[in-house]
Symmetry: D2
């Protein structure tokens, strides 16, 4: 941590800050430039540093505090140099083979779920997605079928053998969802619901953590750190687009977040071009882009009749559209040393 | 709702969409322009419209669906033309007299809480704020003292007579927080935690709903609608800055949200310039701006020694700074027909 | 164009707006719903519509005006269904073969330029890029060598045979730059410099138009329309990242803009991952993503010693890094039916 | 400037960087922490530092370069501690009395201009604004009457005695506009048109520099530095809203930019709530907010019949609406120690 003093700071301000830091057990390194004085802060345990940084920046003779260390630890490459492979019932997430999670945005019925599940499996998907608890901007929209949907997903798993990923939104539902799901999904609206992150950090299931729609990459990795900090290291990150001024697409899919995360963290990362774009026609090109950029997999919304979907139809592919896209993805995957 | 058909749509597409809409009980009004065909959709109950809009926009012969009605109802001016006054233990929020909520970001000790409470009351504050459960980006930061902090706040209420506002972050804590607090605060990170919104909608206490850091004004009012939809109409909105590309301030305080909300909704709105700017020096000018723009009140962080605050020191005023600001605010309030 | 009247509008307001529109030669179509009255506006020439839309939206009994037609014409697919191929001295931009523009951010010397030009040609680039006039945020930064740089680029063209693309920033320099360059580049900071757009619209050279760092895709296509409107249809669009709240990357590369533009317009689009990310390590993965998403080419900064570059070294590849990336790109290109 | 080395850097990397910096005349200060090595760079002339910072950040063993000095100088408070008062023909901009610039977005006719000019003067405005050259997103919109409009403005000045502010968009027009205008306006779309900034920096007239719609406060002050660097210190800054995800308002008016600029720079700053909000109903509350936050003045669009304005009618006040607002502003101004 480096503290840059204001040009208006006095010699006694400098002494005060030095005394303050030494009291807390830090080493101090002063460097006086022509125009500014800079104090390097060395040593001691990291967690206290965040607090000290905040406190120092409130002093009126301090111009700025520059942190040196990254604000996440357990999920960083420095902590664990090897790539994490999350193993889910025979599926390895983070290896050479891409993981493809596909299915309807919302589970609507047993028939719909099974129809889609069979179709996406046939086309090469290896995990079934489907919403049982659905966050919606409006209180009057469809909110999912809850436990009934979880049962329909289980039934589809029995038939197809595909593990299930589904969202949990409430700390009180974690136990219930764990009884049915193979992977717990934390949605974009709950990335900063720290009670929920802590709760799934204590669960015995892998967690897929979507990026908050206005979260920086650092904040996203800190959210993962919340989960890891409870002892659950089976975390899969999912880039799903961020909020910008552009209105043509529902979100702006941040493709550079993929190589950035792979450079900063050992966790696998998958891409959700369905929410990332909000438009079915853009899903295949953005899916190919994500794979070319190094994504470990994809999450794709598929619905037999998007025009009748109870949620997010505009961004859903038909089973045929999905199959076509999978063929294209397969070629791109091989071009970057991966396969489906 | 208006449906704009793609130039590539055929006559049979048009027939299909008309049949589809009539089936669902809607009136239909077709208007053929030189280049585009437009279908007006009339009548039937609103909640279904959101779903229909989404489904139609997924059809490949539909270019765009334009909603006509606003996506919120109970919180809108049309529903309730008179301004809502939220009454909390003798304090009216939304009337001529401004409400000033002040106190420490986090409750740290009984002494600190009482010291600040007395000082802010003396300077004219009428509600005591203080964090017991604190959301933090890092799992290693301070997370609040929990129920102990609630007890300290209660003690300060007994001494000063000021009602208490404090954040609740977990559906499981709503009952506990209700036992101590006079107003339940939903923080920016939980504005899209719909389970929590529903839970506080069932509580018997007023709710202060902060704007999500990347939420539009419409989404914010829809979040309020979640609470109101459960029967709890005692809602206070709080503008606290949104996330933009600007890095000098912690957030960008959206002052125009104040008159916008007052124009669209009957709910009172207060301003939080402490989080809105993240810098103590900017709090007084932005507080004055908010009052001049019509805010019904302010929420201000005050700490006896900001340089030693366990959270958000950089944006906290000292009790003396707060007193000075209150005098300035008082003059601005009178200039716009309000008072402190 | 559709005009939605406010619930507060009267019958005489409706009559006024109808008379007003008929006066200007428009057909009118009124549709009264339960809660709102809607006026469809039909016919007449498009350019007036923009003005009428703006004027109507200022009336206090009008709630909203919804445009139906896209705000660009000549650059749209409807106007010209076939893909435009821009031909530059033997290089076709927009065809099966990808166009790769590479070279230093700034031209620094004849040796540097020639060294890089030979290296990038060897690796498969087909157009040489290099800055002669450089926009810089600070007045104290390097601003380019001007005409001397243009001469150095010409010299490199003579040796390598590669056409040249270089930026023009001032209406007064267009003639000068045309004497040397094969493609005129309009930089992100000048996308809304309409005088400059008009001037290059009158030039006899193709124009590469970078997206403004906070421009929507529609605004970008309207900027292209400015150029096309002067009769110059040889326009190449270049996605180079947009400004968002994310600070890890210099910009957020909007990969979905590539298929979006290809869907809306007949113009070719290339990708600039160097500015799009600002970090050399992210250039190859994002370049591969752009190609997978359908980009017609790439623009890449290459410098023999990035650590000594006079501008934008942090995002420049070395010639060796560029060669390595080109091999990877080649495989991805083949996977999507293109080649280098 | 502080250079943070990557954990992967070697001892010889450190030696290389030290030798490199010493060669360029810098003092060097090495500080080895437990996890990172930090190099402080001291002395030498500032302008080179920007370049060195960029070059160093491209080295793969450098993790980050942290600049210490602000990137602007002449416009900073450190350089010139007293507030600048820009004097324009009897009007002082930056003093106790607020400057109010008002008039139509576009000059449409001599009658319209004179009518508005008289009305706004009567209501207390002291500078007449009006567009002669208008930047428009669409090539088919109204672009202003050019020199004819400048003559109409001059005629209105002769009658009312009010100085004129009008936009210049092209380096080639600066001389022409200087013949008529008292203040040259640089619009938001040209804030990064550095050729134009340099040209008006050489003009003998004051310049009003609007903030770029996606520019940070630092970049805005650097744009002012371009003008000042040519010797023209008569610069007025104008906050006019920034681009965010919010769509209800045309832009998001950044009220905190006002006290921020007043803290960083000696230049006066005025507020444009007309463009800042894009909605006439929001102009008065946001204008009051700006004055309460410390703005030195306002720029307001006024049109006799906003419903027939050739540009930006939706955000224009009528003369009556303007007069009413001025009375309200007057009270707020007095509350913060200013007057109209």
């Amino acid at each position: 941590m480096i503290v840059i003093l204001s040009p208006r700071s006095s010699e006694s301000d400098l002494e005060e800050i030095i005394a303050n830091l030494k009291d807390r057990g830090y080493g101090v390194h002063v460097s006086k430039g022509v125009e500014k004085t800079i104090v390097g802060v060395i040593g001691a345990h990291d967690n206290d540093k965040l607090l000290v940084a905040e406190q120092l920046s409130s002093l009126d003779y301090v111009e700025r505090v520059v942190p040196i260390l990254k604000p996440f630890k357990v999920v960083s490459h420095e902590f664990h140099p090897d790539k994490t492979i999350v193993k889910v019932d025979g599926v390895d997430i983070g290896g050479q083979k891409l993981t493809v999670m596909a299915g309807p945005c919302s589970v609507e019925s047993e028939e719909q779920t099974l129809e889609v599940a069979k179709a996406v499996k046939e086309a090469g998907a290896n995990i079934l997605r489907g919403g049982a608890f659905k966050p919606s901007t409006s209180p009057y929209s469809f909110h999912g079928l809850g436990e009934d949907a979880l049962k329909m997903l289980s039934a589809a798993r029995e038939v197809t053998g595909m593990p299930i990923v589904t969202e949990v939104m409430d700390t009180r539902d974690v136990e219930l969802v764990c009884r049915y799901a193979d992977i717990l999904q934390i949605g974009t609206r709950n990335m900063t619901n720290y009670s929920l992150l802590t709760e799934v950090g204590n669960a015995a299931k892998p967690v897929m953590l979507k990026r908050g729609m206005s979260s920086t990459i650092e904040e996203w990795l800190q959210a993962a750190e919340y989960i890891a900090n409870q002892g659950n290291y089976n975390i899969i990150l999912c880039e799903r687009g961020i909020r910008t001024f552009e209105t043509y697409t529902r979100n702006t899919f941040d493709v550079s977040a993929i190589p950035t995360v792979l450079g900063l963290s050992h966790l696998p990362i998958i891409a959700d071009p369905s929410h990332g774009t909000g438009r079915a026609a853009l899903v295949p090109p953005v899916a190919k882009a994500a794979v070319a950029a190094g994504a470990d997999g994809l999450m794709i919304e598929v619905h037999p009749q998007p025009g009748k979907a109870l949620k997010d139809g505009a961004q859903s592919l038909t089973p045929d559209g999905f199959t076509e896209m999978m063929n294209e993805i397969s070629a791109v995957a091989r071009a970057v040393g991966r396969y489906i």
